[in-house]
């Protein structure tokens, strides 16, 4: 049930250790954009520009942070026309939850 090594998991936590990156990730794990209705139970998709809105960071910095989240295996990214859309990898989200809930049993 624990498919990741300590090093891989540390990489995931490293990706979430920056407030800006954690903010971006958090935006992707909530199903609705602020002020809109919740249409599905799945994780939402945002394009890069939308994700950075209200964060007051340069586009280059935003791009860097999303690349880090991607490198850690936390999000996927794909070009769609002029935009690049991002979404969370659900498996990874599960794996992380398991790490904290199943910690009390010996490996």
């Amino acid at each position: 049930m624990s498919n990741y090594s300590i090093d891989e998991r540390a990489q995931m936590f490293r990706a979430l250790s920056n407030p800006h990156r954690l903010g971006l990730f958090h935006r992707l794990t909530t199903c609705c954009a602020p002020g809109t209705e919740c249409s599905t139970a799945e994780a939402s998709q945002f394009c890069v520009g939308e994700l950075g809105e209200g964060m007051d960071i340069a586009p280059s910095t935003l791009s860097h942070h999303l690349k880090e989240l991607h490198r850690a295996g936390l999000i996927e990214m794909q070009r769609r026309g002029k935009n690049v859309v991002c979404w969370v990898v659900p498996d990874t989200l599960n794996e992380l939850a398991v790490f904290f809930t199943s910690g009390f049993t010996p490996e």
Copy 2:
């Protein structure tokens, strides 16, 4: 249900972003020392020296890492004679799990 700010949570993840620190934390969240029997369902206690065994890091480095885990609110530490014992704060462990499992509902 979400009692921590983005910044506080980022601090927690930062503390877990180093493989050595994550290893130490993981050792504290498993109930048994390797090769011993599981006596209780609670998180285990280890003294600083035991925690560092087999990790090949200097005592000063070990001390630094545990201080970081403590600063992030992930572990407690208390002197017991010549030793200092460490244990995980259970609430925090829960909080972290919740972050990953309840992400799909709007705040």
